[in-house]
Every structure is written in structure tokens, then in C-alpha cells.
Amino acid sequence: MKNTTVKIYSMLSKISIKIICFLLIFLVTIQVNFIQYASAEEGENIQTTIISRIDEIKTYNEYISEYTNNEGEKVTIIVNNLNVTDKAIVFSAIDGKYNCIDLSRDKRVVDFEFYVSQSGLYNMELEYYAPLDSTSTEIGLDIKVNGNYPFIESSTLSLSKSYKNETENIKVDENGNQIRPQQLETPRWLKAIPFDKTGFNSNPFLYYFQKGSNKISLNCNYGLIVLNQINLSSPAPKIEYKDYIDNCRTNGFTDTTKQNIYLNAENANYKSSPVIYPKSDRDDAITSPSDPVHIRLNTISSDEPGQKIMYKFQIDKSGLYNINLRVRQNQNRGMTSTRRIYIDGKIPFEELNNIEFRYDKNWYIETLGGNDPFEIYFEQGEHTIDFESNTGNFASTLITVQNAIYDLNVILRKIVMVTGVEPDPFRDYDFSVEIPDLIEKFIDVRNKLSNEVTRLNKKTDFSGSEINTIEDIIRQIDSFIKEPRTIPSRLESFRGNISSLSTWILKIKNQYLEMDYITINSKDIKKGQQRASLIQQLEYNFKAFIASFVDDYNIKETSKDKVLINVWLNTGRDQSNIIKSMLTDDFYKKNKTAVNLTLVDTGTTLLQAVLANKGPDVAMFVTEDIPVNLAARNALIDMNRFEGFNELQERFYSSAFTPFIFNSKCYAVPNSQTFNMMFYRTDIFEELNIIPPKTWNEFYNILPVIQRNNMQVGASGESQLVFESLVLQNRGEYYKEGFSETNFNSIEVLDAFKMWTGFYTKYQLPLTYDFFNRFRTGEMPLAIMPYTQYNLLSVAAPEIRGLWAMTTIPGVRHEDNQINISESATGTGSIIIKNSKNPKEAFEFLDWWSSNDSQVRYANDLESTMGPAARYDAANKNILERLRWQPDEAKVIREQWERVIDIEMIPSTYYTTRNISNAFREVIYKYSNEREVLNKFNKIINAEIKRKNTELQKYNKSK
């Protein structure tokens, strides 16, 4: 009986808590549809049972501790196509290997059945191939053994892909500066053990198989993978360096002389991620190659656990070698960064599993083995050396601190539920009655943390500032335990300490190490210079200073026989570099147009430049209000006149064009489009027994539940996006036909306005708030925010990973039982200026730029360069699934996006937004009657629209 339920539920909990929550929402909302309020009790039952199931899955540490003495004798099992049970699987031949299992998009699961002759723990090494796929930079897997996840980490495994620089030698631009090479995917056969990229487990996972028949189910969650075989092997016995070198000596391997193999770290052959690319160091004059005037990409760095950098090199003389690295670890004070070093894909002896690099703000040369350098045997021929980031000995610290943060946040929430977000310092909250186990829990967390600190202090050479963060919170908890009555007045700093603890985890998890070069050299070769001497450094800086007077930083295109168009960009330098490289790789091959990119703030500068007739041909990433305003003054060329615009329009939802239309002509090509989504904390929702609202009525129903527990709900404050969305959801419109008058006296808009102001007058939602931090601590478990916040949360809030979700915003239920979740959006666009001499070429450029392939490339390059937090909110509707969103995330975004309508722009839009804001504030601050206020400001807006229209007509008449 128990077994079957376990099976059912583990099937349900396929990926993570998240999916279960979706299921739950689904189940419960169906009930809500029929019986408005009665579902709470039943929902409770379902929730508690499923949650308790999840808790039964062990963590890896618990799992492995059960089997420590169970290492069988060395056995290797090869699992391949012969073991596949599903007859529907088609085998294919890929890149030189036959009988491969292609887990492409439609078939993501494969089961293997095989026989194990010896019970025991096994390494599970996959031999796989990652086909070209721009949607993800890694592969996400989950592995079940005999139908269950053996441990929780097995449900979120990762495998890395392989990248390299686009060209062997780094390219140089017209000014003599090296250009950051694009990182190209290089599909090839790889062998690796799936790892946990959170860094909480630094050793490769071992799986236990009982003697007899076993089944592995492998599910690819994202990315593409082709499997060839799975190698199961008992973990090899650990060889210490002592034994290794003794073995070498007995085999008669001798020291080499005068051999020095020098590898420039930035020229790595393969990298596991596109974010590992050559960087430029100008701090030290001897970082090679060095150039005081031009940009030289001379170092490479990696940080996240699991990132790998690989080098190939040639050994001419067999024998023993030392390995030296010129490195810098200047980010984690007092901490070490760990690397696992593979030689020819294997770890020759145990010490190379954890090579620690100390903190130093300067470069230094690290010899592997330290004072007693490791001598490693290389035979003549080609070899590889891999450096893999790894949390090493910090893994257990990370787990402890992570758990502590979770516990502390639970405690904080419990306290807040008693005291409110802003406790009354004069009141004695009787915590011993309200939260009986409070002190007990504090002591528990405190002890765990202080054990960790003692352990860390023993390990690192000095108690660096990084540990202080933990010590601070321990001190505070100590004083809480001593005097619980002081807790309310110090809640604020307690909250701050918890969030700095989360930041600490992020920092420590990143095993930052920058490398300049690697040498594999004979014992008699002298170590290189650690850092530049004072004179070298002075000379370098002086030259750089002199050169700064003449160096030209602009990216210029110098082709005389081509049509030149000037493009102004309202972005950063990285973005313009990406576009520039896209131009050379793609655009110039197809077109005879040269593009001159300039970084300009396109606000007022653009206007002045147009006035002075010095404007560009194209301005990109301009804000929504600019196109219509310039168009109304005859400064832009409409897009409709160009051939191919109809085709171009197909790439976007019509909502993307809405703000750019003036007099039924379109004046811009959309670049980006952002809209709101609803973010909620799944753990808190479960705790409070509520479900994310689908309609505003449901929203109102759960508001008191959240607020009764002294937590908050965020509805974007004064951002008018919410009001605009409410108008649209009520099927209202902003402007009357012809845009000469607003529609604010209609009942739909009034209703929307009442709802919007009601959030703040009736429900007291906060007007201003720091979403990121409050969502993290759980004080604000529900908020409506732009969907780009997702990236920030997923990157910078690891402690709530899996505890939150993003979904569509609440909607208005109409009589026909349809829930209208329409929404307004904000965006940017590209315009063509009227003075442009080459409008046709300018449109060609925009056509190329807005094409699916260009947008995907731009988005992916941007993310590779600036990290996932910079994910591009492209307006192009076809590329969402090709960006690095996980499929279920892309699905909710798409669901909402299809419902985006957006509000039209008119030349006097500034007056509408300003006066809606005035009306809003008048209601909020003075509790005035909504209808009167809206009517009053409506009149003002209409007067301005009329005045503006007459003014604009003056020009038309004068022509």
C-alpha cells in the first residue's frame, strides 16, 4: 500500500515542488470555479499529504551516509542501447557513434534496465553529446533509480556543454584593441558525472544499486542531449600523492630537464560555459600578453561550481613535471577558491581533487603541491588538463548556512506574524507564550552556525571579513536568546543580517579564480615573476596615461564604397559590441551597407541633434513616448511605406506596435517589451493554505489572510501599468475614437480606477517597497512585478530556489465566466529619422535586426556576456522559446504575453499619465471620492489634448 502511494506521488513530484504547486493550483481552482469558498478544507488535505511526501526524499548527505561501508569490489557496467526498455526509442548515428539515444524535444525520457552483480555504490558517468542548441548553456537532467529519486539532488542535475572561442587567435579591431571573442558551441562527445550546480555537494554523486535487476530513468528537463552510454563503476580506491609518486619512481620515471610548456590561460581549448571568456587585466604590467595602450585580453576566470576550463598541450619528453599557475583570487577575503584538476580526464591522485588557492589582492604564482611540489608523470604526446570550479571543503558550510537561513527566515516570519512588520517597541510581546519553541530554535541555529565558524577558522589562515558575516548573526542570536524582549526593536537589523547571510552564500559559492598562464615545467626551470616591479608598473601606467589622450574609443566603420548609416544606441558598451560583432558576422555579408554605431542617450540629445540636422539615420532602444511625439512633428519616416514591413510585422504581437502608431501609421520597430507577472512564494502559500489568485476577487480573498499574518502584498505601487491593465481587463479604453478625448468618464475606467486606488485605501498595500529583499525574506509573499525580475530572483536569491513561482496576473471575471487577464506593457523601439539620406538602407538594417535569428543571437550573446540577470526582454514574439527560459517559465510568459494589449500613445500622453498620477494621489492621501477626482482630472486632460491638437494643426495649416 505504502509502496504504491510512494510511486504515485514521486511521479507527481517529477521535477520539483514547483510543478506540484501548479497541479495544486489547477486542482484547487477547478474547485473554486464550482464552489467559491468551500474548497479550503479539501485543498488543505491534498497539500499536507503531498508536502509530507516530498519531505521523505532524502538529501544526498543522508542518502550517502547509509551506504558508507557498502563499497563493493570494483565493478564496471556499461549501460547502452541494449538496455533500453522502451521499444519506441529510435537509435541514431551521431558524430561517429552508432546507436545513440537522441533525447530531442519530443522524447525526453529514457529507461534503462540492467543487471548488477554486486550491490554497492556506483559512479554514474554519462557519455553524451550536446547538439547545437542556443536555448540553454547547459543540460538539465533528473535521474530516477527504480522509479524514485534516490535523493533530492538527483532531480536537479546538470551537465555542461562545450564552448570555445570563435577564432583561434583573438581578433583585433581597427584601433588595435582585441575584441572579446564570441563563445561558440562545439558539440563533441563528452564524458561526465552529472553534477549539482548549487555547489552544496562538491563530490560526484554516487548511486546505490542492489544486486540484481535495476532500472535507471533519465529525464532531460532542458537543453538537448544525445546519449551513447552510461558507465557505472565502483568508486576507485583513493590514491594519495605519496603512493602516486612512489609508484612513479618504482616504474623508473625520472625528472625531466629544461622542459617548459607555457599555456596562456585565455587561449583555453574548451570551456564548459559561454560566460568563461578572455578578459582584460590592466592592474599588473606583466600579465601576459601586456600592452599599455591597447586592450589585450590576457586572463580568464571562472567561478560557478561545475565550470570547467580545458587545455591541450604537447609533451616532447616523457618524465615528471611540476605545474605552476599564475593566478589571482581577489574576491573572497580570507577564503580559498577550490579547483579540481583533471589530467587526461582523470584525477591521478587525491590531492588534485581539492587544490585551494588563497586570497591575495595581487597576482601570485601557485605551484601545485606548494613547498613540496607535485611531480606528475606525462608521457610524450598530447595531453589535456582541466580545471573545474568546485566548492570543495566549503560545500558542507554552504549547506549549513543555507539551512540556517531557511530556519531563520521561518523564525523571522513567525515573529513578524506576532509583532507585525513594524513592531511596537513599547509593547511586550510574550514570545514564550506566542512562539513557545522560539528560544529552542534560536539555540539550535546558533549552535550549527558556530560549529561551522570554528571549523572555518581552523582551516583558513586568518579570520577574514567573510566569516564576520556569520559571526555577526551569531552574536545577535546570542543576545536574542539572553533577552528575548529586545527582539521586536531589533527586528530590522535581524532582517538585514539574514539577507547579508544570503549574499554571503552567493559569494562563497562562487569559487572565483582568475588565471594568467599555466606552465608545465621541469624541476630545474625557475619560477616566473610573480608581479610587476615598481619600475615596470610605473612605465606601464605612464604609457597608458599618455595613450589615453589619443586613443579613440568609438567603434567606427570605415568603408568608403558602401552606403553609410548612422545608428544611435541607447544602451551600454557591451550591447554595442555585440551588435557590432553581429554586423560583421552576418549583416555585412548580406548587405552593402556600412553601419556606424554610436552610444548616445537618446532622450533630449536626439531631439537637439534632429533640430541641428546632425541626427542619426536610426535611433535604437528609444522609449515609448518618443516615436509618436517626433512623428507628430514630422521628424520621422513611417514604416508602412517600406516594402517588407508587413512581413516584419508578423514577428511581433500587434500590441508591440500599439504605442508607435500615429494617424494610423507606424513609426517604429519594436525592440523590447516588458509586462507584469505575478510572483508568489510557494512555501508561504502552503503554510497559509492559500492558492495564487486567478481573479481579483480571489486576490481580495487571500489579501486578509496574508495581512493577518503581518505580511505584505505588493501591487507595483504607483506604476500605472496596473491601472492600465485594470482598464483593459474591464474592457475599457483609454481614449475615444479619434484620440481627441479620453474615455475616463466611462464606467469601465471608473471601476478600474476604484479598484486601483482601493488597493491602497481599503487594503493598505504599501505604496513603495523593495520587492527583491522583501520577497526573499518572505515578508512579501505575493507581488505583481515586471517579468524581468524573474532573472534577478533566480540569480541573486539562491536561498529561495524552488520556493517561489511566477504566473499570470489576476484577471477580471466577466459574465460569460471568462477571466480576462489582459495587460498593458512598456517597451522600446527603433525609429528612422526624416532627415536620413538612406531610409531604405536604414529599414533594411532594422529588418535584419528585428529578424528572429538576429534577436536570438543578440539575446544569447547578451546573456553570455552579462550573465542571466541581463536576459533580454525581446519584443519579437517568435524567439521566447529559443531564449534560455525553462519550458514551463516560457509557457506562463507566453500565456500572459498573448493577452498583452497595451495603451495607445498620443502627443499629449504626458498629460494623461501625469494627471492620473495626480488623481491617484489625491484619492490616496485625501480619501476623496474617486468619481469626482477622476472627473476633475479628466477635464484637465481633455483640455490639454484639445490644446495640443490645435497647436499641432497650426503647423499643418502653415504648410
Binding site: 517597541p425 502627443p907 492621501y925
Partner: protein, 316 residues
């Protein structure tokens, strides 16, 4: 001084005599004209032309992109008769000029006087402390955090903590409070160039005057201040006053940063902001120029008034 006399002669004579003799005068005094040229050119290019072009543009409808359309005094009529917000802007500008201008001026003087009493080292340190806010440029945005409308904003959180309020107040957007906040910040910023010139002025006064005054029967520091110090400092007072007027009439960026642009119901809208509103947001440069001309006139008038008042103090 001599040059000035020459010029005076030159122009008074040229009024009476014919043009022919004017050219001859130029030839005669060409060295003086050459020496005058650098300043005159700069002054014309950077002051006369912009001011007169603003006056010309104020008579047009100009959207910064297309050619200006001449509309006569329409803009002025609209400004005085048909623009409600203009009145709010004048009201706020006058409040700023009267409150922050005068308080700032007074504070600058009083603090300079106090600081002057300290020793050399202490004086330098204190000068730096008081001058720091305006030295640091846009540093007033720190007040954004102090007066944040969030319940964790500094001011709100203290008021909540000690039970003065139960809900966070929107210091910067609620029209009840935001004017007060901006005035406070502008006063905090007002120890500018005027303050420095006062300190310099105090130190330039010849000590012998005080000795002479003591012999003549000055009884206390107040008398000393009024009978010796102030008359001696008229040039600095004048300079300080001009700076203070210019500063208080051009209050705007501070309120823009703090209370948003435009502020709730234009509660902290000043003439400068009104001008910016039309110039940048509404694409109506002609009307913005009209406001600029008005602002210019207001500054000129108050300068004349101050000049008269100070002339009385110095007893000329």
C-alpha cells in the same frame, strides 16, 4: 579704472558727434578696443545672443523640430491669463525665494560670523563642513532615502518606532509635506559661494578699524558688527545676495530629484520646472522661452531692489 574712464569719454562723445568721427575714434583708441574684444565677444556670444534669441523665440510657437511660427504676444497672453500652473509656479518660486533665499542668506552670514571667531585650523575644518553639501553637487539625493515613503525609510521608520505615526507617510509625493522637505533640503544646500565670500570678507577687514572703533566707544560685539563689520563687507554682501537670488530663483532640480517631475499636483513646481516641462516634455520651446524671459525679468527686478537696499547699508 582708467580704461573705464576712457570708454565713458568715448561713448558720451560719440553720441554727440557724427558716425564718421565714431570710426575715427575707434581708429584712435584701437588698442583699447582690441583689449576689450575678448570679453565683449564672449559676452555677446554667451549672454546677449542667448538672451535675445530667447526673447525672439518667446514670440513664436516653436516645437524644436520644425521652423518657429511667429505668434506675436500669444504666449505672453496665455502665460498671464490662461495658465493655472504658471500661477502655482510663481507662488512656489516666490516662496522659495523668500524663505530659502533669505534664510539661506542669513544663515550663511551668521555661520560665517561664528566661524570667523575660531582659530585658523578650526575655521578651515568648519568651513569645509558647512560648504561640503554644495561642494558635493548632487549629493542631495541622500534625502531621498531619509524621506523615503517606504516604512523602512529613515524618517518614517523612526516616527513609526516611537509611535508618532502608524502608517508610513509619503514625504515626497504627498502635497502636504513635500514643499517643506524641499525647503529644508535647499536651505541645507545654501551654504554656497556666498558663504565662502563672507568668510573671506570677515578676514579681509583691517584689524585697525576695530581698534579705532573700540577707542571711539564701541561697547559690544553687536555694535561692532553693525558699525564696523557690515559696512566693510558690502561687496561680499552684494555678491552673496546675487548668488542667493540666482540660486533661489533657479530652485527646481532639487525638487525634481526629490519630489518627482512634475510633482503631485505641481505642489513643488517652480518657474524653472515649468520652463523645463514645456521645453523638454511638451515640445513647446516658444512658450518655455516666454517663461524664461519672465524669470529673467523677475531676477533683474529683485537684483535692483537688493542693490538699493545694500547701497543704504553701505551709506553711499
Amino acid at each position: 579704472m582708467e580704461m573705464e574712464a576712457k570708454m565713458r569719454v568715448l561713448f558720451s562723445e560719440s553720441k554727440n558727434k557724427s558716425e564718421y568721427s565714431f570710426i575715427r575714434k575707434i581708429k584712435k583708441y584701437r588698442a583699447s578696443f582690441i583689449m576689450l574684444a575678448p570679453f565683449t565677444i564672449l559676452f555677446v556670444v554667451f549672454t546677449i545672443i542667448p538672451v535675445s534669441s530667447a526673447i525672439v523665440l518667446s514670440l513664436t510657437n516653436f516645437d524644436m523640430i520644425q521652423k518657429p511660427l511667429f505668434t506675436g504676444f500669444e504666449n505672453y497672453i496665455r502665460m498671464f491669463i490662461d495658465d493655472d500652473i504658471f500661477l502655482i509656479a510663481i507662488k512656489n518660486t516666490v516662496i522659495f525665494a523668500a524663505v530659502t533665499g533669505s534664510i539661506g542668506y542669513l544663515f550663511s552670514f551668521v555661520f560665517a560670523w561664528f566661524i570667523n571667531e575660531f582659530g585658523r585650523k578650526m575655521r578651515s575644518i568648519l568651513t569645509l563642513i558647512f560648504y561640503a553639501p554644495s561642494l558635493a553637487g548632487n549629493v542631495y539625493f541622500i534625502w531621498l532615502y531619509i524621506f523615503s515613503g517606504d516604512r523602512y525609510g529613515f524618517f518614517n521608520s523612526y516616527l513609526l518606532k516611537f509611535g508618532f505615526i502608524s502608517e508610513p507617510l509619503q514625504w515626497l509625493t504627498d502635497p502636504k509635506y513635500n514643499m517643506g522637505v524641499v525647503i529644508l533640503v535647499v536651505i541645507w544646500l545654501s551654504m554656497g559661494a556666498g558663504f565662502l565670500s563672507f568668510i573671506a570678507g570677515f578676514q579681509n577687514i583691517n584689524k585697525t578699524y576695530y581698534e579705532a572703533a573700540a577707542i571711539d566707544g564701541i561697547k559690544n560685539r553687536w555694535q561692532e558688527l553693525f558699525y564696523v563689520t557690515l559696512p566693510q563687507m558690502v561687496p561680499q554682501l552684494m555678491f552673496g545676495a546675487v548668488m542667493s537670488i540666482a540660486a533661489s530663483f533657479s530652485v527646481g532640480y532639487q525638487s525634481m530629484t526629490l519630489t518627482g517631475f512634475p510633482s503631485t499636483n505641481y505642489s513643488t513646481h517652480t518657474l524653472l520646472l515649468h520652463m523645463l516641462d514645456y521645453g523638454t516634455i511638451r515640445y513647446e520651446m516658444g512658450y518655455a522661452s516666454t517663461i524664461a524671459v519672465f524669470l529673467f525679468a523677475m531676477m533683474l527686478i529683485s537684483w535692483i531692489i537688493i542693490n538699493k537696499v545694500l547701497a543704504k547699508i553701505s551709506g553711499d
